[in-house]
Symmetry: C2
Subunit: 256 residues, 2 copies
C-alpha cells in the first residue's frame, strides 16, 4: 500500500509520500515514491506514485529517458502544466497497457495512479491526480489537496486545516500529521516519510526532508499532536446527564 498527498496553497506546493511497498504481507520493502524531474532550467516536476511497483518504475524510467532526450521530451519542451500532465498521463496509460499484456496470464493488478505537480516559470504551479485509467483531476479552492493510495485515515485533518491561505510550513506539517495518522492505522504505509516544499515562482524545492521513524522532528510532532488531541478531547463539552451526576470520584465512593 501507499499514501501520498500533494497540497497547493498560495505560497507554493507541498508533496509528501511514505516509502513502504509490499507484495503480500511477508514481502515488505522500502522504495521512495517521490520522483523529481528538472528537465530544463525553467521548470521542475514531482511525481508521487501508487500501485504496482514494476509499473510505476517503468513509468518513471520512461519519464527519465525523456529527460535525457529533450528532442522528444514533452516535459522539457511543453509550455504549460496542462501539457505536461497530458504527457505523463499518456506515459502512464502506455506503461500500464504494456504491463497488463505482459501479465495477462498472471492474476496480478498492474495498475498505477500518480500525483503529478510542479511549475513551469511564467505559468502558475499546479498539482494533478492521474487515475489509473489515465484521466486526471486538479485541486480546487475548497479542496486544495489531492491524495492517492490509503487516503481515508489521513483525510479528516486535511479537511479541517487546509485552505489556500494556509502557510507552506503549516501545509507541510499538516501533511506529516495526516501521514502519521495513516501510518498508525495501516501497517502497509510506513516511513521514511518524504516531504518536499516548493515556493511559487521558484523552480527549486525550497525544503526537502526524509524522515525516518525515529527522526527527532517526526517524534516531536507525533508526541505533541497526540498529547494535544488527548488534552483537547478531555476538554470537550459534557453530556447533560454527566452534569447531573456527582463527580466520578464521589460515585466510586458511593459504590463501595
Amino acid at each position: 500500500m501507499t499514501y501520498c498527498v500533494a497540497i497547493a496553497v498560495q505560497d507554493g506546493l507541498v508533496f509528501c509520500s511514505d516509502s513502504r511497498t509490499n507484495a503480500g504481507p511477508d514481502m515488505i520493502s522500502t522504495y521512495s515514491k517521490m520522483h523529481v524531474f528538472k528537465p530544463a532550467a525553467d521548470r521542475f516536476f514531482v511525481v508521487l506514485s501508487a500501485g504496482n511497483l514494476a509499473t510505476t518504475q517503468a513509468i518513471i524510467a520512461r519519464l527519465e529517458n525523456q529527460e535525457e532526450d529533450p528532442g522528444q521530451g514533452s516535459l522539457a519542451n511543453c509550455k504549460k502544466m496542462i501539457d505536461a500532465v497530458r504527457y505523463v498521463s499518456q506515459v502512464s496509460r502506455d506503461e500500464q497497457l504494456q504491463a497488463a499484456e505482459t501479465l495477462a496470464t498472471a492474476n496480478v493488478d498492474a495498475s498505477a495512479s500518480l500525483i503529478f505537480g510542479g511549475q513551469i516559470l511564467g505559468s502558475p504551479p499546479a498539482i494533478y491526480m492521474i487515475y489509473s485509467a489515465g484521466n486526471f483531476i486538479t485541486d480546487s479552492d475548497e479542496n486544495p489537496f489531492l491524495q492517492i493510495g490509503e487516503s481515508k485515515y489521513g483525510k479528516p485533518i486535511l479537511d479541517r486545516i487546509l485552505t489556500r491561505e494556509t502557510s507552506l510550513e503549516d501545509a507541510a506539517r499538516c501533511a506529516i500529521v495526516s501521514m502519521d495518522s495513516t501510518v498508525r492505522s495501516n501497517a502497509t504505509v510506513g516511513p521514511p516519510i518524504e516531504v518536499m516544499v516548493c515556493i511559487t515562482d521558484s523552480v527549486e524545492e525550497s525544503h526537502y526532508a526524509r524522515l525516518e521513524d525515529d527522526d527527532e522532528y517526526l517524534r516531536t510532532v507525533r508526541q505533541a499532536w497526540n498529547d494535544a488531541l488527548k488534552l483537547s478531547f478531555a476538554e470537550l463539552p459534557r453530556f447533560d446527564w454527566e452534569k447531573r451526576q456527582p463527580p466520578r470520584s464521589l460515585r466510586a465512593v458511593k459504590n463501595d
Copy 2:
C-alpha cells in the same frame, strides 16, 4: 453506506450508529441501524447493522420474532453472550443466503455485517463484529472497539483515545467525534446519530440519545473539537528551517 462503532470499557458498553441509507446517490433515506432486544428480564442485546437494507431488516425481523416466541428463542434462553452471538450469526447467514437466492438474477449485493453486543446478568458484557460470511470476532484490551461500514475516517481518534480505563462518558464522546469525522468525509454517512450507553451489570441502557444534525450538544462538540484541533495544530513544533527564517511578516516586507 453506514458507520457503526461499539466500545467496551471497564464500566460498560457504548454503541453508536448513523442513520443514512442509500440505494445509489439519488435514493437516500433515513433508517435507524440500532436495534435493541430485551427478550428476558436478565438480559439486553444491541444489534448495529450495515449492508443491504432488505437483508438487515430480514435479520432484525427474525430476531424480533424469536423474541415473541421464547420457546424457540436462543436470545431469550441462551446462557452466555457467546451462545447469543452464535445464534445471531446463524440468523444472519440464513437470511443472507435466502436473499442471495432471491436476488440471483439481479446484480445486487445482498450481504450484511453486524455488530452485536449486550449483557446477560451473571456473565460479563461483550461486543462482537459478525462479518457477512458469518464468522465473528470480539474486541481486545489493545483494541477495545469494533467498527462496521465506513470505518477508516473515524478510526484514528478511537486508536488515540480509547483504553479499557476510558470512562463511559468519554467513550461515548469519542464515538461521537469519530462519527462526526466520518460524516464530514462521506456523504453517505449521516445523522441522526444514535448513541447508547450501557453500564456493566445493568440490563437497561443508562443513556440513549438520538442526535439530529442541528442538535445542540452535537453542534457544541463539533465546534469545540474543530476549534481545539486548529489550536493544537497551530502549536505544533516548527521545522528547523522555520526557526532560521525571519517571521512571515518580515519576509513579506523583504520581498517587496
